[in-house]
Symmetry: C2
Amino acid sequence: MTPPGGLTPGPPAIARLSFNQITAERASLAEAVDACARHGVPYIAVWRNKLAETGLDRAVRLVRDAGLRVSSVCRGGMFPAASPAEREARIEDNRRAVDEAAALGAEVLVLVCGAAPDRDIAAARRMVADGIAQLAPYAAERRVRLGIEPMHPAFAAERSCITTLAEGRCLAQRFDPATVGVVADVYHIWWDPDLYEELARAAGRLIGFHVSDWLVPAQEVLMNRGMMGDGVIELRRIRGAIERAGYVGPIEVEIFNEVVWNTPLDTLMPRVKERYLSCV
Amino acid sequence: MTPPGGLTPGPPAIARLSFNQITAERASLAEAVDACARHGVPYIAVWRNKLAETGLDRAVRLVRDAGLRVSSVCRGGMFPAASPAEREARIEDNRRAVDEAAALGAEVLVLVCGAAPDRDIAAARRMVADGIAQLAPYAAERRVRLGIEPMHPAFAAERSCITTLAEGRCLAQRFDPATVGVVADVYHIWWDPDLYEELARAAGRLIGFHVSDWLVPAQEVLMNRGMMGDGVIELRRIRGAIERAGYVGPIEVEIFNEVVWNTPLDTLMPRVKERYLSCV
């Protein structure tokens, strides 16, 4: 019997590997860029807090001089807010995120869409749709794609009211596929009973793929991500489904984990590459 | 505009209130039964570990002498296991749980379905379906209904591979509705983008309703439940949808929370009743 999602592929190409800099949360952007360059990792994903520390112009030079490409900027989004003025301020901040992504030549601005400011999750979902509608023309002009990242339902009250691939896809489908797509992060979606059907339905809309693992037993849910292979996620089977849906772009390794964060970069990078090749 | 789920109802009847004894985790069954009786709570939900401490015959007498009814026994399930022998042992344990529910006159045996023993969540889902198929005739003979409780996806790796109302309903629909239904617990389902549509689709299959709240910020996900009204869940709106789907049975208050567990029962019970009336 063919497993759900079909047959699994061989190892992914190193040419697609991206190091999401949250995986080295203690390092500066300069240190993360340097580690990628020395260890032959072709892509990096850049966080805005690190960008602010470094300065945009210097960040652009660092990345360019190292010969890296930027798979994504993390993160825009956070659209829902209690007042119209606050929502407008969030849009304005998202425009700055688009500018930063454009300056870095990033393929995608990842959207962590935001949670309700109150108990009304349906209203928050409408604010997300409205926010993306306001932002999309600005992003399109600057040739930055907006990647809706459905987040694990454990984050629904604090980070994103967009909780499933189906919901992210339906939201993306209201917009031009050249501008708005979906980012699939295994940590957020692995449990979904419709996972493989939904990945197939997302064909043409997938613009990012993030990998880590779900550790058992789970402790605090934000920091429960592990190195690929250390948890329960069927990474290679999921990658197979994502490739059959047409996504062959960068694969970001994005791990929130204190042990990983405390590992020296020259120990961490070879492990990331090894696990990427053996598990993803 | 009518909110999702339609208009909200008034307060629920006290006649439907059930105290799930995990809400008083430090108390014995005798103490929890006594507190329910003194505070005019008509139903109790009984946990099997407490039942084992008390002894089944004594438990039956305690509940009957207090004039209480048992809304459910927690819990059966945990069907997936690595070997056929272990899976058979789980079924056998589930038969004992059915016996206990029957002895207590419980309306429902709650099924926490179990997680994969490995990385294969699809196989675990098949083991759950097989397990229920094996258990259902035994339950039907003893007039105990099996309540599939979809659990929050944060528990998918450790407690239940059945993670959404849709998945629980589709699974239940393979069986006679007189024997197998779905238990809706707000903590597990509140985030679902299809929540109101799915509650409507579950009409005729809903056989339990559990309430608590989702606290913000979330800490450890098992213990993140709060007293109704202390979190972000739209409890009354959800109750309205559940009643429109035809469920008018007991409403269990089920709270895993250290602060609640450390509250003396004579302080806790009036608070449970007050919040039930004002928030559910």
